[in-house]
C-alpha cells in the first residue's frame, strides 16, 4: 500500500504549540462554550444568593424565637415577682453562653427597663427605653444597623402571661455569622466563577479543539483535495460521526484519485492513439498525392472501362438497330432476287426488267449503306462541345430505335420545340437519349403493356430546359429508385443489362453538361428528367 504523501493528522491538542488555532469555528465554539458556562455560573450565583439570604434570615428568626421563648419561660416567675436580679442574671448567662446574642432589652409595662449586653447591663427608666410595649402587639424582626458598625438582627416580641401583656423584649443578634455566611457565599461564587473561568480555559480549549480540530483538519484536507492534491489523507481515528466523516472523506478522495488515475490512463491511451493516428495521417499525407493520383488514374481507368463498356453496349444497340433497319430492305432485296430468278425462269427477264430490278436492288443496297452511314455518324465520338439542336438530336436517337419500336409496337411520341439549342458534345447527349429510350423500351416491354408508350417532352422553363422521358412501364420500386444511377446496378436479367447506361447518362449530363438527371415514378410508369442550362 502506498503511503499518502500528504497526511492531515489530528495532532493531540496538548502537543500543539499553537495556543489558539487560527480557526474561526474554534474561536466561536470556545467563546460560546465559555460564555455560556460563565453566564450559567453567574446566573446560578445571582439566583442562589437571595435564596440563601432568605434561608439565613429564617435561621436567625428561628433562633430568635427559640431564645426569646427560652428567656421568657425561664424568667417568667422572676418577671411576675419583679425579681429583676434573676432576670439580669439569667440573661447575662444567656448572653455569656450564646455569643450570637448581642443584647437583650426587656421593657416591662411598669417599672424600669433592663438593657443587657455581653459588655454589661444597665437599668433604664421606661421613658428612656427605645421601645414601648404598646407599640408591639405582635412580633417584629428585621436587620438593623449596629451603632458599632455592621448590622444586627433585631427581634422584638411582646411578653404576655395568660394573655395579659407584661412588657416587650428586644433581642439583638449578632449578624457577623450571617454576614460572614453571605460574604462566604459571595466569596464562593467569586471563587466558583474564577474557578469556572479558569476551568473554562483548558476545558473549553480542549472541548473546542476536540470539536473543531477534526473539522478544520477535514476542511484543510478538502481544500488540498480541491487544489488537486488527491494523495491527501485525513488521519482522524474516532468512533463517532466525525470519524465516519473522516473515513468517508478518505474513501471519497481515494475514489477521486482512482478516477483520476483511470482518466490519466485513458488520456494516455488517447494520446498514444492520437500520436499513432497523427503518424498515420502524416504517412497518409505523405502518400496522399500519390494515392490521389493513383485513385484518379484508377478512376479514369474505370471510367474508360465504363465508357468502353458503354460504347460496346451502344454498339450492341446499334447493331440491333441496324438489324432492325436492314430487315425490310433485306426482305425487299430478297424479293428482288426472287423476282429476277422468277423472271429468268419464266423467261420474262428482260433487259429493262433486269435493269429495273438491278436499280431497285441498288437502291436497297444504297439504303442499307446509308443506314450504316447514319449509324456511324450518330455514334461518331465527338471530342468537342458545340451547339446542337435538341429536336434533331432527339429525332436522330428516335430514328435509330424506330425500327425496334415498330417491331415491338411501341408508340413513341416526341414533343420538342424545334428552336431549342443546347451546348455540349452531341454524340454524348444522343447517347444519353438513346440510353433513356432503351430503358423506357425495356420497362414497357417488361410491363407487357398492351399499349406501350414512350413520350419525349422538352420545354423551356425559365433559363433551363427540361427534357422528360416518360413511359408507362413498371416504374421503380423504392430501393431501385435510390440505386439506379449507381454503376453496374441493373434490374434486368443476366446478360441483358450492363448497369452502366444510366450511370454514364448521369455522368454526361451532370459532369459534362452541368445539368441534372433525376428519376421519379408516375402513376403508371416512370419519368427521367434532364434539366440543362440553356
Amino acid at each position: 500500500m502506498v503511503r499518502p504523501q500528504s497526511e492531515e493528522k489530528l495532532t493531540q491538542p496538548w502537543l500543539s504549540f499553537r495556543l489558539l488555532p487560527a480557526n474561526r469555528m474554534f474561536i466561536r465554539v470556545f467563546g460560546v462554550f465559555g460564555s455560556l458556562l460563565l453566564a450559567m455560573t453567574i446566573l446560578y450565583g445571582l439566583l442562589i444568593i437571595p435564596l440563601q439570604r432568605d434561608s439565613l434570615l429564617k435561621v436567625l428568626y428561628s433562633q430568635a424565637t427559640t431564645v426569646s421563648r427560652s428567656i421568657i419561660q425561664a424568667s417568667s416567675d422572676a418577671m411576675l415577682t419583679d425579681d429583676f436580679g434573676f432576670v439580669v442574671e439569667h440573661n447575662l448567662q444567656v448572653l455569656q453562653n450564646n455569643k450570637s446574642i448581642q443584647s437583650v432589652l426587656i421593657v416591662p409595662s411598669r417599672g424600669s427597663a433592663l438593657s443587657m449586653a455581653t459588655s454589661g447591663w444597665e437599668m433604664l427608666q421606661t421613658a428612656e427605653a427605645p421601645i414601648k410595649p404598646a407599640d408591639y402587639e405582635v412580633e417584629s424582626y428585621r436587620i438593623v444597623d449596629s451603632p458599632e458598625g455592621g448590622t444586627r438582627y433585631r427581634y422584638i416580641t411582646p411578653i404576655r402571661f395568660s394573655g395579659v401583656s407584661w412588657g416587650v423584649m428586644q433581642i439583638d443578634f449578632d449578624t457577623s455569622e450571617y454576614e460572614a455566611n453571605i460574604d462566604e457565599m459571595y466569596r464562593q461564587i467569586v471563587y466558583i466563577s474564577l474557578f469556572t473561568l479558569l476551568a473554562i480555559l483548558p476545558i473549553g480549549y480542549f472541548f473546542a479543539l476536540w470539536l473543531t480540530r477534526p473539522i478544520a483538519t477535514i476542511s484543510r484536507a478538502a481544500s488540498r483535495v480541491a487544489s488537486g492534491e488527491l494523495d491527501t489523507h485525513v488521519g482522524i481515528d474516532r468512533n463517532d460521526e466525525i470519524g465516519d466523516l473522516s473515513h468517508s472523506f478518505n474513501q471519497m478522495v481515494q475514489a477521486l484519485a482512482e478516477n483520476r488515475r483511470q482518466l490519466e490512463n485513458v488520456n494516455l491511451d488517447l494520446e498514444i492513439k492520437v500520436t499513432e493516428r497523427t503518424q498515420e495521417l502524416d504517412e497518409l499525407n505523405r502518400t496522399l498525392d500519390q494515392r490521389v493520383r493513383n485513385e484518379i488514374a484508377k478512376r479514369k481507368e474505370q471510367e474508360q472501362l465504363l465508357i468502353h463498356q458503354s460504347r460496346l453496349a451502344a454498339m450492341g444497340e446499334m447493331i440491333g438497330a441496324i438489324a432492325h433497319q436492314w430487315r425490310q430492305p433485306l426482305n425487299a432485296l430478297s424479293l428482288v432476287i426472287q423476282n429476277i430468278h422468277m423472271q429468268y425462269r419464266t423467261r420474262q427477264l428482260s433487259e429493262d426488267s433486269m435493269q429495273a430490278l438491278q436499280d431497285k436492288a441498288q437502291q436497297l443496297i444504297q439504303r442499307m449503306s446509308q443506314t450504316i452511314d447514319e449509324f456511324r455518324n450518330f455514334f461518331k465520338p465527338g471530342k468537342h462541345a458545340e451547339s446542337f439542336n435538341l429536336a434533331e438530336a432527339i429525332q436522330a436517337a428516335a430514328d435509330i430505335l424506330e425500327g425496334m419500336f415498330k417491331n415491338h409496337n411501341i408508340e413513341l411520341a416526341i414533343d420538342c420545340p424545334a428552336d431549342i439549342d443546347l451546348h455540349g458534345v452531341p454524340g454524348e447527349f444522343s447517347q444519353v437519349i438513346l440510353n433513356l429510350l432503351g430503358n423506357a423500351r425495356d420497362a414497357v416491354l417488361t410491363a407487357q403493356q398492351p399499349r406501350p408508350k414512350i413520350v419525349i417532352r422538352a420545354q423551356t422553363v425559365a433559363d433551363q430546359v427540361q427534357i422528360d422521358v416518360e413511359d408507362n412501364g413498371t416504374g421503380f420500386d423504392e430501393n431501385t429508385l435510390n440505386k439506379i444511377f449507381e454503376p453496374y446496378f441493373t434490374t434486368k436479367a443476366e446478360g441483358k443489362g450492363t448497369g452502366i447506361g444510366l450511370y454514364m447518362s448521369k455522368t454526361i449530363i451532370e459532369n459534362n453538361m452541368h445539368g441534372n438527371l433525376v428519376a421519379s415514378n408516375l402513376a403508371q410508369g416512370a419519368r427521367l428528367r434532364i434539366t440543362l442550362p440553356v
Binding site: D82, D83, F84, G85, F86, V88, E89, L92, S119, G120, W121, E122, M123
Partner: protein, 291 residues
C-alpha cells in the same frame, strides 16, 4: 502464696528511693470551693490539668476531689495527697501553718480579693449596726463569708448575726449583688472580685451600692503543699503551675477558680484566714482543731 507476693510488692515499694516517690503528684481538690461549674466537668478539667502539670516535669500526676476537708487533711497528712487546693478559710480552719509548705494562689489583675459588705447607698445604711432587722445575703457553703459575717456581728454588736438581721444564703455573688441593686435585699457580703466584675458590667452598681465593710486578702483559694512534700517536686510543681496562663488546661483551671493568673505564695499568706479563724474561735468558745 498470694499473701507472700503482696508482701514482696509492699517491700519493693518501701525500698524505692525517695526521688522515685517524689515523682508522684497527687492533687486533692476541695469541690465545694468551686462554684458555678458542673462537677463532672470540673473533675475532668482537674485531672487533665494535673496530668499537664505533671507531664511538664515527668511527674505522674493524679487529681482527687474531696467534699470533706477532714478527709483531705487526713490524706495529705498521710502522704497520699501532696497538693491541697481549697478555699483559704477551709485550709486555715483545717491546717496549722507549720503543716503547709509554700504553694500557689490564683489572683486577679489590678484588683485584690476579699469580701465586701454592700448596701444600697439610697437606703441610708451607714454603719454595721444599721443592718439590724435588715435582709442580708451571703454565699451559701462559703465558710469565709459565714465566719467573717459572724465575726463582724460579734465585733460590732456583740450579738449573733441571726439575732441582728435576716441572713439569707445565695448561690452566687452576682445574684446577691443584683438583689441588693434591685432592692430585694438590704445588704450582701460578696467577694470583691465578683463585685468588681459586676460593676464593670453595670457601672450603675457603683453608683447605687455602697461598701459598708471590706476584708482583703491575696486570694480566696490556694494551692498549698504539705510541709513534708519533697522540695524538688514542690519546686517543679510550682514552676509548672506558674505557667497555667500559657496552657489550655491551666487557663481552664484559672477560669474555674475565677482568677487571672497564679502566683507563688508562702503559707503566711493565709495569716488573715488564720486570724479570722482565731477570732471566730474566740467568740464561739471552741478550740480550733489545730493551732
Amino acid at each position: 502464696m498470694k499473701s507472700a507476693i503482696a508482701l514482696l510488692a509492699f517491700l519493693i515499694v518501701l525500698c524505692t528511693p525517695a526521688s522515685r516517690a517524689a515523682d508522684i503528684l497527687n492533687m486533692g481538690f476541695y469541690l465545694p470551693g468551686i462554684r458555678d461549674a458542673n462537677l463532672a466537668d470540673v473533675k475532668i478539667t482537674l485531672q487533665l490539668w494535673a496530668e499537664e502539670v505533671g507531664r511538664a516535669h515527668g511527674i505522674a500526676a493524679t487529681a482527687y476531689t474531696y467534699t470533706d476537708m477532714a478527709a483531705l487533711y487526713h490524706n495529705s497528712m498521710g502522704g497520699k495527697i501532696n497538693l491541697i487546693v481549697a478555699p483559704g478559710m477551709e485550709i486555715a480552719e483545717t491546717f496549722a501553718p507549720e503543716e503547709l509548705a509554700p504553694g500557689f494562689v490564683g489572683k486577679h489583675y489590678g484588683t485584690g480579693e476579699g469580701l465586701a459588705l454592700i448596701v444600697r447607698a439610697s437606703d441610708g445604711i451607714r454603719q454595721f449596726g444599721d443592718l439590724r432587722g435588715k435582709k442580708v445575703l451571703h454565699l451559701s457553703h462559703d465558710r469565709l463569708s459565714s465566719v467573717y459575717l459572724e465575726n463582724q456581728c460579734r465585733q460590732h454588736t456583740g450579738a449573733a448575726c441571726a439575732d441582728l438581721f435576716q441572713v439569707i444564703e445565695e448561690k452566687r455573688n452576682n445574684q446577691a449583688i443584683h438583689k441588693v441593686f434591685f432592692g430585694q435585699a438590704d445588704a450582701a457580703l460578696v467577694s470583691i472580685s465578683a463585685l468588681h466584675a459586676a460593676t464593670e458590667l453595670n457601672p450603675q452598681i457603683r453608683q447605687r451600692l455602697h461598701h459598708l465593710l471590706e476584708w482583703k486578702t491575696s486570694s480566696l483559694s490556694y494551692g498549698m503543699m504539705p510541709a513534708r512534700t519533697d522540695k524538688g517536686l514542690r519546686d517543679r510543681v510550682l514552676k509548672s503551675a506558674m505557667k497555667a496562663t500559657t496552657t489550655v488546661r491551666g487557663k481552664q483551671i484559672l477560669e474555674l477558680f475565677k482568677t487571672d493568673y497564679m502566683e507563688r505564695v508562702d503559707s503566711h499568706e493565709l495569716t488573715p484566714y488564720w486570724q479570722l479563724h482565731r477570732e471566730h474561735q474566740a467568740w464561739s468558745g471552741r478550740k480550733a482543731r489545730k493551732n
